[in-house]
């Protein structure tokens, strides 16, 4: 750490005491969020998310592979994040470091634990063949708050993903196809399927055609940091590097909390945590609207 952040810290705190931030925002406001979907043709789904100057690209690739022995009828997902040296002068090439791994795991948890992808519907032949979902996150430009940008990019990319049935049909034998056809019919007759908010095409029961990844309405995560006693949402790079503590809260469309992650070495009081949750609920509503809009819903 150099001397510059210490000088910036004084400056940021001085502004905060007057109720201001370096880019003129309120404490609870986000920077401008832009989501662009289907940006990579080779990917099954993709999205580029900009939060202010932070820019993240997420691409989804799918394949067919073996399920884990303990879950023979569920698809397999994995998440990886690359902090490419493009994004910041401080990122180096080489194997992912701990910050990239933390980010990938937090995004992975957000998607996995909330069961946004209905992995049980991605089974082809139980115990033998299931769909694999690879979520790859590319950080292109780093100006703070990668957690929100990366998870939002992953969600937008997943929500626009088409399962590439037609491309992989040649890898399936007769038995696989029958099993898949049967399971696909089941997929669209599961009670309550109408409640699935995103991406089901009931008319399209043909296993040969690509179809949207089965998803449920996803939780949206919001991050805030604490600097002295000030709680700032959506920290930019300068705020993030001097922050004492960070909290990410994922909330769903019912206004319930679905995931949390505290980071850095500072601490929060109970009241402060409540404040962050309230802010996450409000911002989550807005972000959810932007997300729905970006995928054309």
């Amino acid at each position: 750490m150099t001397i510059v952040p210490i000088i910036k810290r004084d400056y940021i705190i001085k502004l905060a005491e007057q109720g201001k931030r370096i880019d003129g925002r309120d404490f609870v406001n986000y920077r401008k969020i832009e989501i662009e979907t289907n940006v990579v043709n080779k990917a099954e789904g993709s999205a580029r998310v900009k939060i202010g100057n932070t820019q993240v690209l997420c691409g989804i690739k799918m394949g067919i592979g073996e399920p884990f022995p303990d879950t023979p009828t569920t698809g397999v997902m994995s998440t990886a994040a690359e902090f490419v040296p493009m994004a910041s002068p401080d990122f180096e090439s080489g194997p992912p470091r701990e910050d990239a791994i933390e980010l990938a795991r937090v995004v992975d948890r957000g998607v996995r634990e909330s069961q946004v992808i209905q992995l049980e519907k991605l089974c082809i032949t139980p115990g033998e063949k299931v769909w694999l979902v690879f979520i790859d996150i590319h950080i292109l430009d780093y100006d703070g708050n990668l957690f929100d940008a990366a998870s939002l990019a992953a969600l937008a990319a997943l929500l626009t993903t088409k399962v590439p049935v037609s491309r992989f049909l040649k890898d399936l034998n007769e038995r696989d196809r029958d099993s898949w056809q049967e399971r696909l019919l089941e997929l669209y007759t599961i009670p309550g399927i109408d409640e699935v908010a995103f991406g089901t095409d009931v008319a399209n029961k043909n296993p040969i055609e690509d179809f949207p990844l089965p998803m449920i309405e996803p939780p949206v995560s919001c991050t805030a940091v604490k600097i002295n006693d000030f709680i700032l949402f959506d920290p930019c790079f300068d705020e993030e590097i001097i922050a004492d503590v960070r909290l990410t809260v994922a909330t769903d469309h019912n206004g319930d909390i679905r995931a949390m992650q505290k980071g850095l070495s500072g601490s929060f009081s109970r009241e402060e945590i409540q404040k962050v949750i309230k802010g996450a609920l409000d911002n989550g509503q807005e972000i959810r609207k932007i997300l729905s809009h970006s995928i054309g819903k």
Binding site: K42, L57, G63, M86, A87, F134, L140, D143, R167
Partner: protein
Amino acid sequence: MKSDIKLINNEGKRNDGRGPKDIRKIKIEAGVLHRADGSCYLEWGGNKILVAVYGPREAVPRHTQNPLKANVQARYNMAAFSVEDRKRPGPDRRSVEISKVISEALEKIVLTEQFPRASIDVCIEVLDAEAGTRCAGLTAAGVALIDAGIPMRDIPVACAAGKINGQVVLDLGKEEDNFGDADLPIAISPRTGEVLLLQMDGHLTYDEFNEAFDLAVQGCHKISEIQKKAIMDKYQNAAAEVNE
């Protein structure tokens, strides 16, 4: 890799509708990233390439420093989702080789002697790939270096020519690369015509090589104009913003 697949019809139209001497559609935008010292986004047919330039900055680790000139270090990297079957993240033998030949091409054109002990880092990220990514990467790197204000002798530019169904054509597409007879990517300094990068695979006669080489050089000159326009656009827009 000769095959019977028809890539060009009797009227000289290729499968994507291009004539033998047409390049795919190219779009270049300079200065698209916030943190990088210089950057460029380039779309070339189905290729989508993002390039960031950092530097000149102190070369690390220190033993890599050259007391007489700067190192130009390009890193060509393909995103896991940029190809048909997911690519494992990280460098493989192919991307290491491409990084090396691009670094060497850029080293010739950058005024490295002005920055002893420094490093100029060029990050080339292939986000979407469809044949000719090394040419697209190098072309984008040229614009990003200008955007970063790195002094250069010229703006490097690259383009490939090749042979499909026995005919020499410019700028191979995906099918043509896979099933064609030869591929010849080159990079030049358009002002002097010096060749900065040259690779070839396949099978060409001496006369075909000459024809392909000349065609690729012509392609480079066309693309060079698009590069210059992208740079001009950036500064014109900047000027317009200031005047507002």
